[in-house]
Symmetry: C2
Subunit: 476 residues, 2 copies
């Protein structure tokens, strides 16, 4: 009830109006009237390692997990965000989020959204916390920012993509931390990119609501037999997919055989990508990748370390005549790393992750840099509910930043979609445009209760076996 | 008593002997007999922001702090390590160390030291924790590794530098994670570097025991008046210093005036360095640095973001004819970042930090890469007891890796040295070779009790005011 009466105030407002009347008017009062009263941080873990789901050479037995943040308000609305991890370590991030929540509890929503760079800088440039570098710190900061954006989108009754699309170009530019990236993209260039898409915004939005971002899927998991891979491909093709990924990395001979097998199975016209999950050193990567030249691959994903920029530059040069380009970003921890990969054109596909960098603000910077260098945004999906988030970024990019859908592919993995109230949908190989307000990250309450670590039903008898660092698996 | 009788067993052993008899013999039994029985992790914070000590444009009110790890054993020996931070955030690292301790509690010392890469990989490549990236995770892992090395050095009754110097070259090479750095340095090249220094090891060691690594000091803190800076310089010159650093970053006009003032004060023959603490973007850095050309500076420290490798490459090219080179590393979070800065020769001074990367193993990799590219190791000091650690790395580098002392400068800051039982000593502007066993990181017990956060004497009445993220200071 409380929620309905609140929403009524906003039903006819647009985000434009909210900003254009930011000094006065009923909308301002209403955003201002939403106060953050508290936070619940949930260590949510799914024992996916029971089935070896999502394993790769480094992450041999992942338990897909999320630090889930619920920002509570006095309005009945709840701001939700997640930080995906692969099990142990979720508590590290929960600890950080708990600390950072102090910066938003007690604030009203208007004070946080009228200038999102202010909250961003309070977090990322915190005079005592910035020492903690990227990783846990930046991911925890992202959780705060993303939950505030979720609350904002819910308050104005829009899916996240629509909130972003409707922001004035000047406002988007003001969301970005420009300190370290202006050699790659200036605020003026960012503004120009956003403004040149304005005339077609209505048409692009309508088009994308009919058919959302084109998706791709991994069919070649390391643990699967040839027969299982064939079945996976057939199943995906029935859903309209024509782009498939294959995990590689360890045995060069087996990898080449599997690439050949996949190419034969999908035919010459489908997209085929491979993912090495950072398993190789630079020279090792060259040796492996040279053997992939005959198969018309689209991209080589994470052939080397996540932040080896000069390594990527060298790979791009080595394979400049190949059908494929390099792809990475899933583990790139900040806009500074992305800046270098994009400006140097060392990567041909920019794989943003929705929760490794500091929230919407960092993603805005990265997507705009990618647009300048005409490098398609191909977000990393999977995990728990990452696809729910990246569908919004795909929409925003393809409507308002890149402004087209010709080169982008958004990852799709159907794991664990039954955990959320608003599962992502695929139609004809494309995402269906999300319609729920905010990110659409609401988990079923009973799912949360069952999977709370270490005391939920799923864990209580065996949490001790998978407790933190003690749950080990040798790399080889 | 327990400790004395234990030490007696080792008094005549050398680390060589321990390894050469690693399959049998009394020494092996003895290392094996030391079992890690538990860990105490201490959130130690000093309210240095009361006096604005150590502030810079980003870290405006640092409370110098350390996550202190005490690994307890059944032998009476204690393995000690620290992770320095600037206040809030110490608890984040303590949380991580607590988790990782599970990997060493219950182990005997031999099992951890006979192949240090095994422990390193169990930490850094942990199949569920590596997702956490660098920063908190890598720093916490470093705490474990450094405490184990401390225990080892104490068990064999050597200062850390001597333990490192005495390791067989092959053993050092086997301590290193080679996955991502072999394009810059191969294991064979590392071995060759270490072996070529072997003939002069005895002489170099004797020389360095007479006069340790040459030190430099910051005289130009942002908050000081001209008169205070003059007094600081005079005081340092009396101690034999001829190399001085100055903080810059905000007001270009004031910075240039201060550089001129410092140069006049110290004369043309002393080394003068400036430190911008990452405050600038790339183009901004160029504008500032161009104005510094006339002053015969030695280095420009952290002009841009800590991991902007291509930015450093561009700065090196822009200022290739200048008297100065670029220096960074204090905030470089992994050997992969160092690899790029060194291989590209973008930096001329390699400023390792003792606790940001994953312990001795990562430092070995970085120091050896620097030696190959003939880039001097000029470690970052200060904080709490960082100088105690880097004096060992300076010794090891200048005896066994670079094998000379001609180009290196090791930072020295005398803050908080009264907190430790073995304060570093300076003589004729050089460190005095440490003689205490291990790192020499023992804090006075009463200092620890007074400064435990949040319940120590110093904090109990005001911890609430500086609690975590809530202790804010605006950046500008």
């Amino acid at each position: 009830m409380e929620r309905q009466s609140f929403c009524f105030l906003f039903v006819q407002s647009t985000i434009h109006q909210i900003f254009s009347v930011s000094k006065a008017g009923p909308e301002q009062v209403s955003l201002k009237s939403i106060k953050i009263t508290g936070a619940e941080i949930i260590d949510l873990r799914i024992p996916t390692s029971d089935q070896m789901l999502g394993s790769d050479p480094f992450h041999k037995m992942p338990d897909y997990s999320s630090a889930v943040l619920h920002l509570k308000t006095d309005s009945g609305l709840k701001g939700v965000s997640i930080v995906f991890t692969v099990g142990a370590g979720t508590d590290w991030i929960c600890h950080g989020i708990q600390d950072l929540c102090q910066l938003v509890i007690g604030a009203d929503l208007e004070s946080l959204t009228e200038s999102p760079i202010t909250l961003y800088q309070r977090l990322i440039d915190h005079h005592q916390l910035r020492w903690l570098h990227d990783g846990v710190f930046r991911m925890a900061a992202g959780a705060i920012l993303n939950a505030v954006f979720d609350l904002w989108a819910k308050a104005v009754r829009k899916p996240m993509w629509k909130l972003l699309v409707d922001l004035e170009p000047e406002f988007v530019v003001d969301c970005i931390d420009w300190r370290n990236i202006q050699d790659a993209l200036t605020p003026e260039e960012a503004l120009e990119i956003l403004q040149r898409n304005r005339p077609a915004l209505g048409r692009r939005q309508s088009d994308m609501q009919v058919q959302g971002p084109k998706a791709y899927c991994t069919a070649g998991w390391l643990g699967l037999s040839d027969q299982q891979i064939l079945e996976t491909i057939q199943n995906l093709q029935k859903q309209g997919f024509d782009s498939f990924k294959l995990k590689v990395g360890r045995d060069s001979e087996q990898d080449v055989e599997r690439i050949r097998f996949m190419r034969d199975a999908i035919g010459p016209d489908c997209n085929l990508m491979v993912d090495a999950n950072q398993y190789w050193g630079l020279e090792e990567a060259k040796r492996h990748i040279k053997r992939y030249l005959p198969f018309g691959l689209k991209w080589i994903e994470e052939p080397i370390a996540r932040d080896d920029v000069l390594g990527y530059v060298e790979l791009a040069e080595t394979f400049k005549s190949a059908s494929f380009g390099m792809a990475c970003g899933e583990h790139a921890a900040s806009p500074v790393i992305f800046k270098q990969l994009l400006k140097s054109r060392a990567i041909k596909y920019c794989q943003i992750d929705a929760v490794r960098v500091a929230g919407v603000n960092d993603i805005m910077a990265i997507v705009l840099m990618a647009a300048k260098y005409e490098i398609p945004i191909c977000p990393h999906g999977g995990g728990i509910a990452l696809c729910n988030m990246i569908s919004h970024y795909g929409m925003w990019d393809q409507i308002a930043v890149a402004g087209h859908s010709e080169t982008q592919l958004v990852e799709y993995i159907d794991f664990l979609q039954d955990a959320v109230e608003q599962p992502v949908k695929i139609q004809d190989g494309c995402y269906v445009a999300p319609t729920a307000h905010g990110w659409g990250l609401e988990f079923h309450p009973e799912f949360i209760e069952r999977h709370r670590f270490p005391n939920g039903e799923v864990w209580k008898d065996r949490a001790a076996n998978r407790k933190g660092a003690a749950f080990e698996v040798a790399l080889k």
